[in-house]
Protein backbone atom coordinates (compact mmCIF):
# COMPACT_ATOMS: atom_id res chain seq x y z
CA UNK A 1 0.00 0.00 0.00
CA UNK A 2 2.91 2.34 -0.59
CA UNK A 3 2.08 4.64 -3.46
CA UNK A 4 -1.65 4.13 -3.38
CA UNK A 5 -2.46 6.20 -0.33
CA UNK A 6 -0.74 9.32 -1.61
CA UNK A 7 -3.40 10.10 -4.11
CA UNK A 8 -7.03 10.13 -3.03
CA UNK A 9 -8.18 12.33 -5.92
CA UNK A 10 -7.14 10.14 -8.81
CA UNK A 11 -6.76 6.39 -9.19
CA UNK A 12 -5.00 4.35 -11.81
CA UNK A 13 -7.24 2.21 -13.97
CA UNK A 14 -7.62 -1.22 -12.41
CA UNK A 15 -6.97 0.11 -8.94
CA UNK A 16 -9.69 0.08 -6.41
CA UNK A 17 -10.75 3.47 -5.10
CA UNK A 18 -8.20 4.97 -2.75
CA UNK A 19 -10.38 5.09 0.35
CA UNK A 20 -11.38 1.46 -0.03
CA UNK A 21 -15.02 2.41 0.18
CA UNK A 22 -15.62 1.45 -3.41
CA UNK A 23 -18.68 -0.43 -4.53
CA UNK A 24 -16.38 -2.95 -6.21
CA UNK A 25 -13.19 -3.86 -4.42
CA UNK A 26 -11.03 -6.75 -3.27
CA UNK A 27 -11.50 -10.46 -3.73
CA UNK A 28 -15.27 -10.14 -3.29
CA UNK A 29 -15.41 -7.93 -6.35
CA UNK A 30 -13.63 -10.50 -8.49
CA UNK A 31 -15.88 -13.28 -7.17
CA UNK A 32 -19.04 -11.31 -7.94
CA UNK A 33 -17.67 -10.42 -11.37
CA UNK A 34 -16.81 -14.04 -12.11
CA UNK A 35 -20.30 -15.16 -11.07
CA UNK A 36 -22.07 -12.53 -13.16
CA UNK A 37 -19.84 -13.12 -16.18
CA UNK A 38 -20.34 -16.89 -15.97
CA UNK A 39 -24.10 -16.36 -15.73
CA UNK A 40 -24.15 -14.09 -18.79
CA UNK A 41 -21.93 -16.49 -20.78
CA UNK A 42 -24.17 -19.43 -19.88
CA UNK A 43 -27.20 -17.38 -20.93
CA UNK A 44 -25.59 -16.62 -24.30
CA UNK A 45 -24.87 -20.31 -24.95
CA UNK A 46 -28.40 -21.23 -23.76
CA UNK A 47 -30.04 -18.75 -26.13
CA UNK A 48 -28.27 -20.33 -29.08
CA UNK A 49 -29.05 -23.92 -28.09
CA UNK A 50 -32.48 -23.79 -26.46
CA UNK A 51 -35.73 -22.53 -27.99
CA UNK A 52 -36.00 -19.64 -25.54
CA UNK A 53 -35.92 -16.66 -27.87
CA UNK A 54 -37.71 -15.88 -31.12
CA UNK A 55 -35.23 -16.94 -33.78
CA UNK A 56 -34.74 -13.63 -35.63
CA UNK A 57 -34.11 -11.93 -32.30
CA UNK A 58 -31.24 -14.22 -31.31
CA UNK A 59 -28.41 -12.02 -32.70
CA UNK A 60 -29.73 -8.94 -30.92
CA UNK A 61 -30.11 -10.89 -27.68
CA UNK A 62 -26.53 -12.10 -28.02
CA UNK A 63 -25.31 -8.52 -28.57
CA UNK A 64 -27.16 -7.35 -25.46
CA UNK A 65 -25.67 -10.16 -23.36
CA UNK A 66 -22.17 -9.44 -24.71
CA UNK A 67 -22.40 -5.72 -23.92
CA UNK A 68 -23.70 -6.56 -20.44
CA UNK A 69 -20.79 -8.92 -19.87
CA UNK A 70 -18.29 -6.31 -21.08
CA UNK A 71 -19.82 -3.93 -18.55
CA UNK A 72 -19.46 -6.53 -15.79
CA UNK A 73 -15.80 -7.01 -16.72
CA UNK A 74 -15.15 -3.26 -16.73
CA UNK A 75 -16.75 -2.66 -13.34
CA UNK A 76 -15.71 -5.76 -11.39
CA UNK A 77 -12.38 -6.66 -13.01
CA UNK A 78 -11.05 -3.33 -14.26
CA UNK A 79 -12.70 -1.29 -11.48
CA UNK A 80 -13.92 1.47 -13.77
CA UNK A 81 -16.44 3.48 -11.83
CA UNK A 82 -18.32 6.75 -12.13
CA UNK A 83 -16.61 8.12 -9.03
CA UNK A 84 -14.73 11.44 -9.01
CA UNK A 85 -11.36 9.65 -8.74
CA UNK A 86 -12.09 7.85 -11.99
CA UNK A 87 -13.13 10.73 -14.25
CA UNK A 88 -10.12 10.55 -16.55
CA UNK A 89 -10.34 6.78 -16.99
CA UNK A 90 -14.06 6.89 -17.69
CA UNK A 91 -13.68 9.76 -20.18
CA UNK A 92 -10.94 7.93 -22.10
CA UNK A 93 -13.11 4.82 -22.11
CA UNK A 94 -16.08 6.80 -23.41
CA UNK A 95 -14.01 8.20 -26.26
CA UNK A 96 -12.63 4.75 -27.10
CA UNK A 97 -16.16 3.35 -27.15
CA UNK A 98 -17.25 6.15 -29.49
CA UNK A 99 -14.47 5.33 -31.95
CA UNK A 100 -15.23 1.60 -31.79
CA UNK A 101 -18.93 2.19 -32.43
CA UNK A 102 -18.18 4.53 -35.35
CA UNK A 103 -15.74 2.04 -36.86
CA UNK A 104 -17.88 -1.10 -36.57
CA UNK A 105 -21.27 0.53 -37.05
CA UNK A 106 -20.06 2.64 -39.95
CA UNK A 107 -18.43 -0.29 -41.74
CA UNK A 108 -21.45 -2.54 -41.37
CA UNK A 109 -23.83 0.22 -42.40
CA UNK A 110 -21.94 1.39 -45.48
CA UNK A 111 -20.90 -2.04 -46.75
CA UNK A 112 -24.32 -3.50 -46.02
CA UNK A 113 -25.85 -0.89 -48.32
CA UNK A 114 -23.12 -1.50 -50.89
CA UNK A 115 -23.82 -5.22 -50.77
CA UNK A 116 -27.53 -4.52 -51.28
CA UNK A 117 -26.84 -2.14 -54.16
CA UNK A 118 -24.74 -4.77 -55.92
CA UNK A 119 -27.96 -6.83 -56.28
CA UNK A 120 -26.49 -10.01 -55.04
Amino acid sequence: MSERDIDPADTAPGDEAAEGEAFAGGIASYAVGLGLAALLTAAAFAIVNLPLVWRPAIPMALVVLAIAQMGVHLVFFLHVSSGPDNTNNALALAFGTLVVLLLIGGSVWILGHLDHAMMR
Binding site: A9, T11, A31, A66, H73, A92, G96
Partner: protein, 215 residues
Protein backbone atom coordinates in the same frame (compact mmCIF):
# COMPACT_ATOMS: atom_id res chain seq x y z
CA UNK B 1 -5.33 34.73 -0.71
CA UNK B 2 -2.53 35.34 -3.17
CA UNK B 3 -3.01 35.52 -6.89
CA UNK B 4 -1.03 32.31 -7.19
CA UNK B 5 -3.47 30.37 -5.03
CA UNK B 6 -6.43 31.70 -6.98
CA UNK B 7 -5.05 30.73 -10.37
CA UNK B 8 -7.42 27.98 -11.58
CA UNK B 9 -5.01 26.78 -14.25
CA UNK B 10 -2.18 25.91 -11.89
CA UNK B 11 -1.00 22.32 -12.25
CA UNK B 12 -1.89 20.04 -9.38
CA UNK B 13 -4.97 18.98 -7.55
CA UNK B 14 -6.63 18.30 -4.24
CA UNK B 15 -6.64 20.39 -1.08
CA UNK B 16 -8.21 23.81 -0.67
CA UNK B 17 -11.77 24.60 -1.53
CA UNK B 18 -11.58 23.38 -5.10
CA UNK B 19 -10.73 19.68 -5.20
CA UNK B 20 -11.48 19.27 -8.91
CA UNK B 21 -8.77 17.30 -10.68
CA UNK B 22 -6.14 19.61 -12.10
CA UNK B 23 -6.99 22.47 -9.74
CA UNK B 24 -5.75 23.56 -6.35
CA UNK B 25 -2.83 22.15 -4.42
CA UNK B 26 -1.34 18.70 -4.19
CA UNK B 27 1.13 18.43 -7.04
CA UNK B 28 1.11 16.10 -10.01
CA UNK B 29 -0.38 12.63 -9.88
CA UNK B 30 1.58 9.70 -8.50
CA UNK B 31 3.61 7.61 -10.90
CA UNK B 32 1.29 4.65 -10.42
CA UNK B 33 -1.63 6.76 -11.59
CA UNK B 34 0.14 8.20 -14.62
CA UNK B 35 1.61 4.83 -15.66
CA UNK B 36 -1.78 3.17 -15.27
CA UNK B 37 -3.48 5.94 -17.23
CA UNK B 38 -0.93 5.74 -20.04
CA UNK B 39 -1.40 1.99 -20.26
CA UNK B 40 -5.16 2.49 -20.21
CA UNK B 41 -4.83 4.74 -23.27
CA UNK B 42 -2.76 2.03 -24.98
CA UNK B 43 -5.40 -0.58 -24.17
CA UNK B 44 -8.15 1.58 -25.64
CA UNK B 45 -6.12 2.06 -28.82
CA UNK B 46 -5.55 -1.71 -28.91
CA UNK B 47 -9.30 -2.25 -28.65
CA UNK B 48 -9.76 0.20 -31.53
CA UNK B 49 -7.30 -1.95 -33.52
CA UNK B 50 -9.46 -4.98 -32.71
CA UNK B 51 -12.58 -3.08 -33.75
CA UNK B 52 -11.11 -2.77 -37.26
CA UNK B 53 -10.78 -6.56 -37.42
CA UNK B 54 -14.28 -6.96 -35.96
CA UNK B 55 -15.66 -4.63 -38.64
CA UNK B 56 -13.87 -6.62 -41.36
CA UNK B 57 -15.27 -9.87 -39.99
CA UNK B 58 -18.80 -8.48 -39.68
CA UNK B 59 -18.68 -7.36 -43.31
CA UNK B 60 -17.06 -10.51 -44.71
CA UNK B 61 -18.65 -13.23 -42.56
CA UNK B 62 -20.96 -14.41 -45.36
CA UNK B 63 -18.49 -14.15 -48.24
CA UNK B 64 -17.53 -17.82 -48.25
CA UNK B 65 -16.71 -18.07 -51.98
CA UNK B 66 -18.41 -21.47 -52.12
CA UNK B 67 -16.23 -22.77 -49.31
CA UNK B 68 -17.21 -23.89 -45.82
CA UNK B 69 -19.35 -21.51 -43.78
CA UNK B 70 -19.36 -20.83 -40.07
CA UNK B 71 -22.13 -23.44 -39.62
CA UNK B 72 -19.87 -26.11 -41.14
CA UNK B 73 -16.74 -25.19 -39.20
CA UNK B 74 -17.52 -24.12 -35.66
CA UNK B 75 -18.46 -26.41 -32.81
CA UNK B 76 -19.55 -25.07 -29.45
CA UNK B 77 -17.80 -27.44 -27.06
CA UNK B 78 -14.29 -26.17 -27.70
CA UNK B 79 -15.39 -22.54 -27.60
CA UNK B 80 -17.18 -23.15 -24.30
CA UNK B 81 -14.00 -24.60 -22.79
CA UNK B 82 -11.89 -21.76 -24.21
CA UNK B 83 -14.31 -19.17 -22.82
CA UNK B 84 -14.34 -20.81 -19.39
CA UNK B 85 -10.53 -21.01 -19.32
CA UNK B 86 -10.10 -17.37 -20.25
CA UNK B 87 -12.76 -16.14 -17.81
CA UNK B 88 -11.22 -18.15 -14.97
CA UNK B 89 -7.75 -16.88 -15.89
CA UNK B 90 -9.08 -13.30 -15.70
CA UNK B 91 -10.36 -14.14 -12.21
CA UNK B 92 -7.10 -15.68 -11.02
CA UNK B 93 -5.19 -12.74 -12.54
CA UNK B 94 -7.29 -10.37 -10.41
CA UNK B 95 -6.58 -12.48 -7.32
CA UNK B 96 -2.86 -12.31 -8.13
CA UNK B 97 -3.15 -8.50 -8.21
CA UNK B 98 -4.92 -8.49 -4.83
CA UNK B 99 -2.26 -10.79 -3.34
CA UNK B 100 0.50 -8.53 -4.68
CA UNK B 101 -1.19 -5.48 -3.14
CA UNK B 102 -1.04 -7.27 0.21
CA UNK B 103 2.64 -8.20 -0.41
CA UNK B 104 2.02 -11.94 -0.26
CA UNK B 105 4.59 -13.45 -2.57
CA UNK B 106 3.60 -17.13 -2.67
CA UNK B 107 -0.14 -16.56 -3.30
CA UNK B 108 0.69 -13.93 -5.92
CA UNK B 109 3.00 -16.31 -7.76
CA UNK B 110 0.53 -19.20 -7.42
CA UNK B 111 -2.35 -17.17 -8.87
CA UNK B 112 -0.12 -15.92 -11.68
CA UNK B 113 0.87 -19.51 -12.42
CA UNK B 114 -2.80 -20.52 -12.52
CA UNK B 115 -3.44 -17.62 -14.90
CA UNK B 116 -0.64 -18.80 -17.14
CA UNK B 117 -1.83 -22.43 -17.17
CA UNK B 118 -5.38 -21.40 -18.06
CA UNK B 119 -4.08 -19.04 -20.74
CA UNK B 120 -1.94 -21.85 -22.17
CA UNK B 121 -5.00 -24.16 -22.23
CA UNK B 122 -6.88 -21.48 -24.16
CA UNK B 123 -4.04 -20.92 -26.61
CA UNK B 124 -3.49 -24.67 -27.11
CA UNK B 125 -7.17 -25.26 -27.93
CA UNK B 126 -7.13 -22.35 -30.36
CA UNK B 127 -4.02 -23.65 -32.12
CA UNK B 128 -5.59 -27.13 -32.38
CA UNK B 129 -8.66 -25.55 -33.95
CA UNK B 130 -6.54 -23.59 -36.43
CA UNK B 131 -4.56 -26.71 -37.36
CA UNK B 132 -7.74 -28.73 -37.88
CA UNK B 133 -9.29 -26.04 -40.05
CA UNK B 134 -6.18 -25.61 -42.18
CA UNK B 135 -5.90 -29.41 -42.43
CA UNK B 136 -9.40 -29.69 -43.89
CA UNK B 137 -8.70 -27.02 -46.49
CA UNK B 138 -10.35 -24.15 -44.59
CA UNK B 139 -7.24 -22.04 -44.21
CA UNK B 140 -7.06 -18.25 -44.46
CA UNK B 141 -6.61 -18.38 -48.26
CA UNK B 142 -9.91 -20.20 -48.84
CA UNK B 143 -12.35 -17.28 -48.69
CA UNK B 144 -12.76 -13.72 -47.48
CA UNK B 145 -14.73 -15.09 -44.53
CA UNK B 146 -11.84 -17.31 -43.47
CA UNK B 147 -9.25 -14.54 -43.99
CA UNK B 148 -11.25 -12.29 -41.68
CA UNK B 149 -11.71 -15.16 -39.20
CA UNK B 150 -8.01 -16.00 -39.00
CA UNK B 151 -7.13 -12.30 -38.86
CA UNK B 152 -9.47 -11.54 -35.95
CA UNK B 153 -9.10 -14.70 -33.87
CA UNK B 154 -5.39 -14.98 -34.73
CA UNK B 155 -4.75 -11.41 -33.59
CA UNK B 156 -6.40 -12.20 -30.26
CA UNK B 157 -4.37 -15.41 -29.96
CA UNK B 158 -1.20 -13.44 -30.69
CA UNK B 159 -2.08 -11.04 -27.87
CA UNK B 160 -2.61 -14.02 -25.55
CA UNK B 161 0.78 -15.47 -26.56
CA UNK B 162 2.51 -12.14 -25.87
CA UNK B 163 0.59 -11.91 -22.61
CA UNK B 164 1.88 -15.34 -21.57
CA UNK B 165 5.46 -14.23 -22.24
CA UNK B 166 4.82 -11.08 -20.21
CA UNK B 167 3.29 -13.17 -17.43
CA UNK B 168 6.40 -15.33 -17.26
CA UNK B 169 8.67 -12.31 -16.97
CA UNK B 170 6.41 -10.82 -14.28
CA UNK B 171 6.64 -14.02 -12.22
CA UNK B 172 10.43 -13.96 -12.57
CA UNK B 173 10.59 -10.29 -11.57
CA UNK B 174 8.38 -10.86 -8.52
CA UNK B 175 10.50 -13.86 -7.57
CA UNK B 176 13.86 -12.12 -7.99
CA UNK B 177 13.18 -8.45 -7.25
CA UNK B 178 10.25 -8.71 -4.86
CA UNK B 179 7.57 -6.05 -4.41
CA UNK B 180 9.39 -3.02 -5.72
CA UNK B 181 7.15 -0.16 -6.88
CA UNK B 182 8.20 -0.53 -10.51
CA UNK B 183 7.49 -4.28 -10.45
CA UNK B 184 4.07 -3.62 -8.94
CA UNK B 185 3.35 -1.04 -11.65
CA UNK B 186 4.25 -3.55 -14.35
CA UNK B 187 2.07 -6.15 -12.66
CA UNK B 188 -0.82 -3.66 -12.61
CA UNK B 189 -0.35 -3.05 -16.34
CA UNK B 190 -0.26 -6.79 -16.97
CA UNK B 191 -3.52 -7.41 -15.11
CA UNK B 192 -5.15 -4.59 -17.10
CA UNK B 193 -3.87 -6.17 -20.33
CA UNK B 194 -5.18 -9.60 -19.41
CA UNK B 195 -8.63 -8.33 -18.38
CA UNK B 196 -8.86 -6.34 -21.62
CA UNK B 197 -8.09 -9.47 -23.65
CA UNK B 198 -10.95 -11.24 -21.91
CA UNK B 199 -13.26 -8.37 -22.87
CA UNK B 200 -12.18 -8.76 -26.50
CA UNK B 201 -12.83 -12.49 -26.27
CA UNK B 202 -16.42 -11.78 -25.14
CA UNK B 203 -16.89 -9.99 -28.46
CA UNK B 204 -15.25 -12.82 -30.40
CA UNK B 205 -17.16 -15.74 -28.92
CA UNK B 206 -20.41 -13.82 -29.30
CA UNK B 207 -19.94 -12.51 -32.81
CA UNK B 208 -17.83 -15.22 -34.43
CA UNK B 209 -18.83 -18.43 -32.73
CA UNK B 210 -22.33 -18.04 -31.25
CA UNK B 211 -23.73 -15.92 -34.08
CA UNK B 212 -21.92 -18.27 -36.48
CA UNK B 213 -23.79 -21.33 -35.23
CA UNK B 214 -27.07 -19.64 -34.26
CA UNK B 215 -30.06 -21.09 -36.10
Amino acid sequence: MTAHAQDPYRIGRGGGADSTTGRGEGGPASKRTTVGYGFWIYLLSDIILFSGFFAAYAVLARQTAGGPSSHDLFGQERVAIETAALLLSSFTCGLAGVAAEKRKLVPALAWLLATGVLGAVFLGLELIEFAEMIGMGAGPQRSAFLSAFFGLVGLHGLHIAVGLLWLGTMMAQLWVKGFRPQVLRRLMCFTLFWHALDIVWVGIFTMVYLMGVAP
